[in-house]
């Protein structure tokens, strides 16, 4: 157990060193989220103005949605980019021949993602409060914690799947790191209610934990409270998705061992 923590700490620090020393990288943590916040913030201010108060909650919906989406997206990025980091630097073999186990790597990448997202979340909430008078904590209350954790977990699972694709196709699949989450965005009803989607797509959407969180977020804004279903259902779905994505990753790893892909990963 003590060894496992040493391994997890090693990988956590290995990812964190990158931000410690390099200013652009420290900056990178918050750059895109802040830019997104600015755009969405001003867009909603504008809509609000044009609608003359008829859409008074639009700013809350959009900014909240954007921040929540970012939790999911950054979590996926943290996992996938951690993995691909060692592929890019042709270090993956060095890591794979240490006593590090795959589950330890997964834990380290999740903790790294968690810390990174916590920082982003703090920056975004402060900015949203200052610029648009939007108070995330007041709006979502204590629901914020289970909701964020659900998004974090789902993003992590998507990140694991993305990493599996890289295990299979190497850097040829690199573009998917940024692309895969956007497959989920339209279905997850991020910026609009689930009811907007055609019925068949709604069925698919209900299979994604993210949908419940975004629906729940809007319910809280409208009604001030939320049925527990909106937190528990996605949680159970999340457990399912996590197990499935970890199994896919392990399976791809075994396949890579058979086909000799591990030593060729960074080469294409």
């Amino acid at each position: 157990m003590k060894q496992s923590w040493s391994h997890i700490f090693a990988m956590f620090m290995r990812y964190s060193y990158l931000h410690k020393r390099s200013i652009p990288r420290a900056f990178e943590i918050a750059f895109w989220p802040v830019m997104e916040l600015l755009v969405w913030g001003f867009v909603s201010l504008y809509i609000q103005q044009v609608a003359h108060g008829a859409l008074s909650k639009i700013i809350v919906f959009l900014i909240n949605a954007m921040i929540f989406w970012d939790i999911l997206y950054r979590s996926q990025q943290a996992i996938a980019l951690s993995f691909v980091q060692d592929v890019w630097t042709q270090n993956i073999i060095n890591i794979l021949v240490t006593p590090l186990r795959i589950w330890e790597w997964i834990v380290a990448a999740f903790i790294y993602g968690f810390v990174k997202i916590l920082i982003i979340l703090i920056i975004l909430s402060v900015l949203a409060l200052g610029l648009y008078n939007f108070n995330l904590i007041e709006t979502q209350g204590l629901y914020l914690i289970p909701m964020s954790l659900n998004l974090l977990l789902f993003g992590g699972s998507v990140g694991l799947i993305t990493s599996s694709l890289i295990l299979r196709w190497g850097l040829a699949a690199e573009a998917l790191i940024w692309g895969v989450p956007f497959l989920l965005q339209p279905i997850s009803a991020v910026f609009y209610p689930l009811s907007i989607l055609p019925p068949w797509l709604q069925v698919i959407a209900m299979g994604l934990p993210s949908t419940y969180i975004f629906e729940g977020m809007r319910t809280i804004v409208k009604e001030g409270s939320l049925s527990l279903d909106y937190l528990l259902l996605p949680f159970f779905l999340n457990i399912f998705y996590f197990i499935v994505s970890a199994l896919i990753f392990l399976w791809m790893y075994r396949q890579a061992q058979i086909h000799g892909r591990l030593s060729k990963l960074g080469m294409d």
């Binding site: 003590k2 060894q3 040493s6 391994h7 700490f9 090693a10 990988m11 620090m13 290995r14 060193y17 990158l18 020393r21 390099s22 980091q85 060692d86 630097t89 042709q90 270090n91 073999i93 060095n94 890591i95 794979l96 021949v97 240490t98 006593p99 590090l100 186990r101 075994r254 061992q257 058979i258 086909h259 000799g260 591990l262 030593s263």
Partner: protein
């Protein structure tokens, strides 16, 4: 682990890649404290054999045991007691030398890591590099850093895939002396590949010559040179690869 067990035992190992039989009923043993040179032309299967020992490649058939264990079932136990370095595998270029060594010291749960790291840096004469980015090192410096990484966990067995590939003759000599010293003082076994025949003659207790995935000659460098009636290993190499032997 019993001291009588060989550090490496490979029996009848085959590895089939699409279109290539990289290892063809390959056999190898390496005893405690032995330095074995794995020789052969490009594409002979040397790296494939090493990766199989490391557990990152599964064999198509055959038996592999490292420190008496299976690299596929007990990889992490083995990994704690062996190490690997290759001129073709890098440490993260965007971390400093010290950050890299700290990371690997943690991955190997090295006790007293600080002292261990500074001793090794001194040994390889690269203490002045600690704050440098690994990507900014010369290839000779990188190689020495890789070797520091290799010795962090006091391994019983080292798998070195062309470790001196980019070293100048003087540093290559220093590196060989250090490896020999570790081998003698700590009884570390070393499996070594290199295309530098004089180096192999000087360093290895025994050589295994492999061509198209199978062993073609085996013995002390002297024995092999005699067997092929040549002056040195280089001539043996050329003879074998050109098929000019019985």
């Amino acid at each position: 682990m019993s001291p009588l067990l060989p550090l490496i035992e490979i029996k009848d190992l085959c590895k089939q890649f699409p279109g290539t039989l990289a290892l063809n009923h390959f056999n190898l043993t390496l005893q405690n404290g032995e330095i074995v040179g794995l020789l052969g032309p490009n594409g002979a299967g040397k790296t494939t054999a090493m990766h199989t020992l490391l557990g990152i490649l599964t064999p198509t058939s055959g038996e592999v045991s490292v420190l008496g264990m299976s690299p596929f079932k007990e990889r992490h136990v083995i990994a704690q007691n062996i190490n690997f370095s290759s001129a073709y595998v890098q440490l993260p270029t965007n971390l400093t030398v010290m950050e890299n060594l700290k990371t690997f010291a943690r991955l190997y749960a090295v006790p007293n890591a600080k002292n261990k790291i500074s001793d090794l840096l001194e040994l390889f004469e690269i203490s002045y590099l600690t704050k440098r980015l690994t990507g900014a090192l010369s290839s000779g410096e990188k190689t020495r850093l890789n070797l520091c990484k290799c010795l962090l966990n006091d391994p019983q067995l080292l798998l070195l895939d062309e470790p001196t590939a980019s070293l100048d003759p003087e540093i290559a000599d220093t590196v060989r002396k250090i490896l020999k010293k570790f081998n003698q003082e700590k009884n570390i076994g070393i499996l070594y590949t290199s295309h530098n025949m004089p180096e192999i003659e000087q360093l290895c207790d025994r050589i295994v010559f492999i061509h198209q995935g199978r062993v073609l000659a085996e013995g002390t460098p002297k024995e092999v040179i005699q067997k092929f009636s040549t002056q040195n290993l280089e001539q043996v190499f050329i003879k074998i690869v050109r098929g000019e032997y019985q």
